[in-house]
Structures are given as C-alpha cells and as structure tokens.
C-alpha cells in the first residue's frame, strides 16, 4: 500500500478507515509572513468511529477540520476519503463527494441564515443535490427534524431568531443529516451552549451517530466534552499532533507533557480536589514563528537541547497510543 511509504507514523485506527489524512500541511500568508496552521498531520478515522481533536485556540484544529473537507485547500498532503483523494478532486467530482461529508459549526445562530425559514434552511442541501420533488423534500425535512427532537409542524415556518441556541444547534444538526452523510466534522458544536443544553446536544449527537451510522471528527477545546463522545482522542499543539490514543487510556496515562498539562488544567467540580497551583508555563508561541524542534518545548518542563534540535515524530508508546515527544511520561 502506498501509505507504507510515508515517513511519518500513521496511527492506525481499529478497523477499516473511512478517512486517512497523511502529512497534511496548511499554510497561509499574513502580509509577508506565513502562518504555519497545520504542519504535517497524519491521522486515520475508522468507519463508525469518533475521533476527538483537542487543543487550545490557534492550534490549528479548526483549520485541520476544514482542510479535511477541502473548504480550505491544504498546501500539501493527502486526504483519502473512502479511498479517494479529496485533494486531487475538482468541480463536480468534489461537489458530489461533499454530499457524503458535512460540517457542524460552533455558533449555531450565526450559521443559520436569519432571513430564511427553518424548513427552507434544512431543505437546501436537498435542493442543491437535485431532489426536485417538493413533496419528497418536505417528507425528508419532517423526518430529520423529528429525529433531532423538534416538532416539524411548529418549526418549519419560523425564523432562526425565534429559537434558542440549543434549538438552533438541533436545526444545524438536522441540516447536516438530511443528505444522509457518512462523515461529519463537528467544530466545537457545544462550546457556545449552556451546561444544561450542552448535555442535550452531546446526547443527541451520540444518538444520531448510532442511528445513522456516522463517523465523526469532533473538534473541541474542552477535554471532558471530548472524552464524553470520542473513541480515540488526538491532541494538537501549534499545528502538530502531540499524542493520539484511545480516550480512556489517554486520559488515564497521558504520554505527552502537554496532554498532562491540559488534563491538570481542567477545573474539577469537587471541593475536595484543591486545584494544584499551576506551574507558570506561559502561553503558546505564535504559529507565524513556531519554535524549532518540538513546538511545545518553550512551555515544557522536560525540554532539553534535543527538543530544540530535533522534531519528535509520532511513535507508539502503548497499544494504540502514539506520542510525539523525546521525553514521554510513559
């Protein structure tokens, strides 16, 4: 297989991969400088799997999600979806392929056109994909709106502003599901929602995943949220993957110092757990001039000369767990 030839380690997903990203690079110019948003990321997502992608703002996680769907063309690298390279596709072929993939955004209210009725918003993918029979469209809209827990009769004729954030996110999910996609990129789908609503939407996503046999790339900055829905988790820092592993294992024994830092920083809702005084580890450097070698080294307590000289490659530390670190914790 051609993938064997690639230099960087490809963390294999269990089972048959639906998505294979190899050595993906996304760079864009800002004035005379170049933002290194994604720098050589490789990952696989198996059919029916949820891969969680975590990282702080500016780490390139959203850019990666968009580059996978070709909403931003990657600078280099390959994205194989069901064996076909999306980066090589153009025009109609890509449009056709896009029916099988969907995207859910962070801000549900901003991602719905405020002047259009919910029924039309949800039906639009059908119109674009050429479902000409209005009765058929209506039937599908009603079906999908019921699936996401909304009453179609009360919803279709109304405008987005008449709904709360949680309901708008349900509408966005309905719109993403209507073409019966195989793969959905969820980009911070619950970050804008309140705690009580967040749980509803997370449960809904899990339910929809089971019902429609979906494969998900779930992007978020909140580790607890990511763990709740993901089979495996990939941790991203300044454009590169630090660690990939099965959720439970990664949280129980993180191998990368950055993963550990992220886990320790989560405030635990238990008054007996006194928050550990954090080591002042500073802030992420700019993706315009990322540090040489390991990009985390400027904040890492374990960093030494080797970390600034040599880029750590992803390598296995435990079954299914991969880390890009010269001095891993396990």
């Amino acid at each position: 297989m051609m993938l064997q030839a690639l230099p960087s380690a490809l963390p294999p997903a269990s089972g048959d991969p639906l998505l294979e990203v190899s050595d993906l690079v996304v760079e864009y110019p800002v004035g005379a400088k170049i933002v290194h948003a994604v720098s050589g990321v490789s990952l696989q997502i198996a059919r029916g799997e949820t891969l969680g992608l975590v990282g702080e703002s500016g780490c390139g996680k959203s850019t990666l999600g968009r580059a996978v769907l070709q909403l931003r063309r990657p600078t280099s690298g390959q994205v194989l979806f069901d064996g076909q390279d999306l980066t090589a596709m153009q025009g109609d072929a890509l449009r056709l392929m896009r029916r099988r993939v969907q995207l859910i955004f962070q801000d549900p209210i901003a991602s719905l056109n405020p002047r259009r009725k919910i029924g039309d918003i949800v039906a639009e993918p059908l119109v674009i994909s050429g479902v000409k029979d209005p009765a058929k469209r209506e039937e599908l809209v009603y079906e999908v709106l019921s699936a996401v827990g909304l009453d179609p009769n009360l919803v279709v004729g109304r405008l987005p502003h008449e709904f709360s954030g949680g309901q708008c996110q349900r509408i966005c999910i309905a719109r993403a599901l209507i073409l019966n996609p195989e793969f959905i990129v969820c980009d911070e789908p619950v970050s804008a929602l309140d705690v009580s609503i967040r749980a509803q939407i997370l449960n809904l996503l899990e339910e929809m995943k089971a019902r429609f046999g979906l494969t998900l790339l779930f992007i978020a900055h909140d580790l607890a949220v990511v763990k709740a829905v993901s089979d495996r988790v990939a941790v991203m820092y300044l454009g590169r993957l630090c660690e990939v592993g099965p959720s439970e294992q990664l949280f129980a024994s993180p191998a990368h110092p950055y993963t550990e830092l992220l886990i320790e920083a989560i405030p635990v809702p238990d008054p007996d757990v006194r928050p550990a005084e954090t080591v002042p580890v500073g802030e992420p450097p700019s993706p315009i001039a990322p540090p040489s070698g390991c990009r985390f080294r400027t904040r890492c307590p374990r960093a030494d000369q080797r970390c600034s000289d040599e880029i750590p490659e992803l390598r296995a530390v435990a079954p299914g767990q991969f880390v890009a670190c010269h001095h891993p914790l396990i």
Binding site: D194, S196, L202, E264, P267, V268, P280, E283
Partner: protein, 331 residues
Amino acid sequence: MTGNILLSVEDVVVDLPTPRGNLRAVDRVNLTVGAGQTLGVVGESGCGKTMLSRAILQLLPKKAKLSGRVMFDGQDLLQLSREKLRKLRGRSLAVVFQDPMTSLNPVLTIGTQLIETLQEHLELDDASAKKRSIELLAAVGIPAPEQRLSQYPHQLSGGMRQRVAIAIALSCEPKLLIADEPTTALDVTIQAQILDLLAREQRRRHMAMILITHDLGVVAGRTDEVAVMYAGRVVERAPTPALFKKMRMPYTEALLAALPRIDAAPHTPLPAISGRPPDPTRPLQGCSFSPRCRYAVARCHAEKPALTEAESREHQFACFHPIEIHAGAGA
C-alpha cells in the same frame, strides 16, 4: 459567615423594560460577603448573575429599575451620589469583566490606563505612579513589564490582556473584587493560571471576591460559599463543601450531573436537563425550575418556594421537595 460582613445585598430587584414587557432580571436576591471571603455565583446565561453584579456596582443599563439595599463597607450604595460612587468604584470596589478586549480601551496604552486609575484614586506623582504600574504588571505575571507600559491592548494575547485588567482592578488595593466570568474567554491552561493569580492576590491582599461563573468546576476549589442562581433568583446558597456534598435543590443536582466528567467512561449518556429556562418576560407562577424538574408536583407549579434553611443557617434552598426526601424514595 465568619468575620465582618463587607457587602450585603438585601432584597435586590432589577427590572428591565423590554418591548416584550417587563423583564425581572434579578428577583429579590439576598447575599453577604465577609471580608477576605470568596463568594461564587453560579448560573447559566440569562440567570441574572451579571445583572446582579452590575446592580452592586450600579452599572446597570439606564432604563433598568433597581430596588433593595446594597450595603458595602457601612454605606448604602444605592443612596450614594454619583460622585461618591465614582470614587468608590475602582478604589475599594473593583471589577474584572469577561472580555479583556472590550474592557480595556483599545486606543490607550497599557501604561496610560494603569496610571490613570492610580492617579484618579491615589495621590501619586507621575514617577511613583509609573513605578507602581510596573510593580503591578510584574505581580500579575507579565514578563518585561516596563516595555508593556507603552504597548496597546491589541499587542497582547487574551491571557495577557486579562492580566492587565486584573492589574488595573488591583491597583488601588480594593476591598472587594467582582470577577465576572474572568476566564470564560480564555483557553483552559490560561484559565488555570488566571484563577491561580486571582486566588494568590486575594490571599495576599486579604481582599473579598465575588467570582461569577457558569462553571461549577471553577467555583468548587476556589470559593468559600456558593450561590446558585436560576431565572433571576438565588435558588440555593451554601458553604462550598455543603453545596457539592449535601445539595438540596434539584437544579443544583441536575446542573452538576449534566457536566461531562473527565473521570467518566466515553459514551456515557449525560443526564441532561430537558427543556430550557423560562422566558424571563413571562414569569411563572410557581417555581421557575418546575417545568424541567423531575421531582416537581402540583404545588411546585402553583406556588413559588422561598429560600429556607437546611440543617445550618448558612445553607439555604428554595424548593418544596428538596433532594434528601427523594433519596429515601429511591430516586
């Protein structure tokens, strides 16, 4: 509450006229904060927690109607003249807002904003105000503080801007700091650093703090007492350990249960709270949480429960069917 009471909020009501009718943002809230203590105010968006902090600071929208009493350090803030209030705010009553980009003035340097505050409230000459500004920036963990004085807010990261906002708030040694979602706009590693910074400065200065947040995780380890708000009212109030261990209000229980936990196995369904908070312009006759509450009975829909005492005076809840009673019934 031990020690001297620094702030007491008594029967505070905030009404906002809206095109849809009157919106009662804060509904008869009573709270106290002792000197050097931290009170956490927890609630979801629209529960009135920010309006409450603005009522204390008297920074409400012009059309808002405020009633009740806010006693701070022996003075009734609602009776003070504008001039006296202005002298108090920034001096002994300081605030840190959620978004440091909008709370700092984008066209003034960090130094100008710090020195302005210092000279407004303390009689400092230019040289000593500048010296103190540098000390403050260093105290909040800003590297190269001297160079920062000539920088503008946009040249700093979100975390650094929040540190500057904290430095300004701390500049005149306030007795009470109101931190309104101070870390919501920040990344999780930066959030931990900012919360540590606030806790450290609070201890060092023996300052009281009101920490307003939607995140129960943030208040758990960092407050002495917590007030949970729902639909404008305080629905439970307790010393922090009691709130988490012996909660009585079903809303508090539901809110805590709905949080994804890092120690839970993946794909564990979350006990979500069904429905959503009531429309604040259409107040309910009964308990505001009753439509979403799994313990609700007919009385809950008809009558509003008042805050009543649990086993101690410090622990209060507003519910006809508090949790322990149901625990025996196997709920």
